[in-house]
């Protein structure tokens, strides 16, 4: 066994040669050569469906490769299952948070690997030891966190820390991070990146997957680009540039950060929110005009989503009112839709999709009555509509009858957008519309929002990803802890810094 010592950088922990994977005759991964050294951050980038996840699943023992070989410390190995891979010190921090809400921090960290002590021949939970070890691990991360706090009281970034600690107690040699900064606000994102850099310094080999190129450029030692199941290139950070990576990822055209050219704002006010207060919101005031794109910025948990939910009638309004097109409006989901409000929710899986429904059934769900007369569905017209939108939105699918759960994230998002587009809404609420989707789909969605504004709709984009808001919005308002703390023109000088400052509640970042 090679010691995980910084001085032997040249020795690879993991080395793969020609690794591929086929499902039912389709090769989703082809010929991947890859290596990871101790104390290195090796990022994998690529659009959704490029093969990153499949490759990671092979390394972590979920899938067995259909071709090629994996070497650990130079000796060939086939992982039979996840346990087997873990026994070689390979651990994964998954994209989703999987904590038991009412278990406290240390119980979550040791879930499934509880430490026991022997009292009269009976194994009893050794809480003291678990607490001590949990504290040690969390201290290693340089975080202050009470191990006795229940997980549901933690914010998203602290929950992520617990997930990382769960992995760290097993003293791993390799940690795979799958989109760890998803759903984190800007400040938390930065802190997490620092933590990951810290882990690298202790000699752990890190495989990092992210859609956020800024992050990848900041953190990586090497970057491997995947496209269509193939490895396109592996480069050192010094030779990589975002434009270069993106052009490798998408293969064809070069990428420019999306920029809108015109503003289509009209004088007519579509929605006017006055002194809106709910459980989570305190006296929110704003209005959106026809043809305007309003960005609502805020860190995770600041109250962005709650604004959308209040408008869409999902959260009860305690004080204040919402006016639509100059008239009164008492929010409920049905009235919202009747009044031309569309909501693309933040959680695509939980709030957006009916997973076992086909692409078509998901597209037609909201305005179902359009395709039926006296309650009976008109299948021909429904299929026609589904085909039209699959075409219009370039949804990658085997057909309108394919179950939506088998689509990639970006295509699923397009299905949800299609659902609203076929109903001629007037006010669009887009909550984190590009979360976890690939570059190409992101650009499509930005383009779509621009087009919708040009057609005279009012668009409200809620996002914790500032560069996105800066490029798409006509105007940005910032919420912090349920209150509106500022309004900005994205084109003003130092807009990014000012908005960031406001998002963090005026505290210095």
């Amino acid at each position: 066994m090679m010691p995980a010592d910084k001085t032997v950088k040249a020795a690879n922990i993991i080395e793969t040669e020609g690794v591929g994977k086929e499902f039912n005759g389709v090769w989703v991964l082809k010929d991947i050569d890859f290596s990871l050294r101790p104390g290195e951050i090796h990022s994998l980038v690529g659009e959704n469906g490029a093969g990153k996840s499949t490759f990671i699943k092979i390394l972590s023992g979920v899938y067995q490769p259909s071709s090629g070989s994996i070497k650990i410390d130079g000796s060939p190995i086939t992982f039979h299952n996840v346990r087997h891979s873990e026994s070689f010190g390979i651990r994964t921090v998954h994209q989703e948070i999987n904590l038991v809400p009412f278990f406290n921090v240390y119980e979550n960290i040791f879930i499934g690997t509880e430490q026991k002590k022997n009292i009269l021949g009976i194994g009893v939970l050794d809480d003291r030891q678990m607490k001590r070890k949990a504290k040690e691990v969390i201290e290693r991360l340089g975080v202050r966190l009470d191990v006795n706090k229940p997980a549901h009281l933690l914010n998203a970034s602290m929950q992520r820390i617990v997930e990382i600690s769960k992995v760290l107690v097993h003293s791993p040699r390799v940690i795979i991070f799958d989109e760890p900064t998803t759903s984190l606000g800007e400040e938390e994102r930065k802190r997490l990146l620092e933590i990951i850099k810290g882990l690298k310094k202790t000699g752990i080999g890190i495989i990092y997957i992210s859609h956020n190129l800024e992050e990848v450029m900041e953190i990586s030692d090497r970057i491997t680009v995947f496209r269509d199941g193939c490895r396109i290139d592996t480069m050192d950070r010094s030779e990589a540039a975002p434009e270069k990576i993106v052009s490798m990822m998408i293969g064809h055209k070069s990428y420019n950060e999306y920029k809108r050219e015109e503003c289509y704002k009209c004088s007519e006010v579509f929605i006017d929110v006055k002194n809106l207060s709910t459980d989570k919101l305190k006296g929110i005031n704003f209005s959106v005009h026809k043809g305007e794109i309003l960005g609502i910025a805020g860190v995770v948990g600041a109250g962005k989503t709650e604004i959308a939910k209040a408008i869409f009638g999902l959260d009860k309004i305690q004080k204040g009112e919402i006016q639509l097109y100059g008239g009164r409006y008492q929010p409920s989901c049905q009235r919202a839709i009747e009044n031309g409000i569309a909501l693309v929710p933040e959680e695509r899986q939980a709030q957006g999709l009916i997973p076992n429904y086909s692409v078509m059934k998901n597209i037609t769900l909201t305005y179902l009555n359009k395709w039926c007369s006296r309650g009976v569905m008109d299948s021909d017209r429904e299929i026609e509509t589904a085909r039209e939108y699959i075409d219009l939105m370039s949804i990658k699918t085997t057909g309108y009858a394919q179950l939506v759960k088998f689509l990639s994230g970006g295509n699923q998002q397009k299905v949800i957008l299609s659902r609203w587009l076929n109903g001629d809404f007037k006010i669009g609420l887009f909550d984190e519309p590009t979360k976890g989707i690939d570059v190409k789909a992101k650009e499509d969605i930005y383009g779509l929002m621009d087009q919708l504004a040009r057609e005279g709709k009012a668009i409200i984009v809620l996002s914790s990803y500032l560069p996105e808001l800066l490029s798409i919005s006509d105007r940005i308002i910032v919420v912090h802890e349920g209150e509106l703390v500022g309004e900005f023109d994205p084109k003003e000088d130092n807009a990014k810094e000012k908005i960031m400052h406001a998002m963090l509640g005026g505290r210095v970042a």
Binding site: A350, I354, P355, L365, L368
Partner: protein, 327 residues
């Protein structure tokens, strides 16, 4: 390479089982009883079997709506008896079959509204809410009858007896009713916006809410459909028995649960379907009928039915489907 081929083969086999396992189960049970029970495979018995199963099928069709939307209805067993009694009292007092039928349907709707309000609008868990309603119904029917059956006299309109005992040609009338309602349920569940929304709610109720479906109202509707189907089956049952028994139909609860779970295992979608429910009802009824013919004591029938429920649920989990109901 050989390993891979075997693997592909087993995937196909699994896929086939997933889709048609339940239908094959029905065929196997049919064959076994045909070979072992002497009078099973005769036209008289098969028609009788169909007539017997008509009530269970109709009740299970209503349950299919409830479970299609991810719900559960524990009140159906007790509801049957209450509707029997109300129907009998009304028909004895008015001498009008149609008024009595209307009263039965009204009671069914009321029970559905009660269940739906508690579960969908007030937010009680399905099991607790509908179980409590079932308990109240039990109390009410005992209060009305003191546990005694109600018998009919000769003045009762003839059409009443036709519902449960009549024939159209060689076909018992309840079988025709069953065929009609099976067709109707398949049509509503597959071809109407109601069915589409019901399954959407069962598939993901939160996403359905965000898509603008009035989830509460549609869940209420499924309970009303269940109440109505219990009412229709109760009228057939009363007519068949020629008397109203407060405890009649209690076995429908366990049987209908079995049927609908079998239904979810059909076609491998994890959703109960109209046709799946028909096959499920056929399986349960064949077992009731066949085991009786083989002189298996009735208590063994409970054991077999319980086993079938477990088998159906395990099968649907093993075959990788998500359980629709959180048990």
């Amino acid at each position: 390479m050989i390993g891979k081929k075997l693997n592909v083969g087993s995937v196909d086999k699994k896929e086939f089982l997933r889709k048609y396992g339940t239908v094959m189960g029905a065929l196997i049970i049919f064959t076994v009883f045909s070979l072992t029970a002497r009078n099973f495979f005769t036209s008289t018995n098969l028609l009788m079997l169909l007539r017997q199963m008509s009530m269970l099928t109709i009740i299970s069709l209503g349950f299919t709506f409830v479970m299609g939307a991810g719900g559960f209805d524990m009140s159906i067993g007790n509801a049957t008896g209450l509707i029997n009694i109300i129907f009998a009292i009304v028909i004895l007092n008015t001498n009008s079959f149609w008024i009595a039928l209307l009263a039965a349907l009204l009671v069914g709707v009321t029970i559905g509204v009660l269940n739906g309000t508690l579960v969908a609008y007030i937010g009680l868990p399905d099991f607790i809410g509908t179980f409590a309603v079932g308990s109240i119904i039990y109390g009410v029917k005992m209060l009305i009858t003191k546990g005694n059956p109600i018998f009919f006299n000769d003045t009762v309109p003839k059409i009443f007896f036709f519902i449960g005992q009549g024939y159209v040609g060689p076909i018992p009338f309840p079988v025709i009713l069953m065929a009609f309602f099976v067709g109707l349920a398949i049509f509503i569940l597959n071809k109407t916006s109601l069915g589409r929304r019901v399954y959407a709610i069962g598939g993901n109720s939160i996403a359905s809410l965000y898509a603008g479906i009035n989830v509460k109202r549609y869940r209420l509707i499924t309970f009303i459909v269940s109440g109505l189907s219990v009412a229709i089956a109760s009228v057939i049952l009363t007519s068949r028995l020629g008397s109203a028994q407060p405890l009649a139909g209690e076995e429908f609860l366990l049987d209908a649960i079995s049927v609908v779970f079998l239904s979810t295992t059909m076609f491998g979608d994890g959703e109960p379907t109209g046709s799946g429910t028909f096959v499920g009802a056929l399986i349960i009824s064949m077992m009731n009928n066949g085991l009786t013919m083989l002189n298996v004591p009735y208590y063994f029938q409970y054991i077999t039915k319980g086993t079938v429920v477990i088998f159906a649920v395990v099968l649907s989990v093993v075959l990788g489907q998500k359980l629709r109901v959180k048990l």
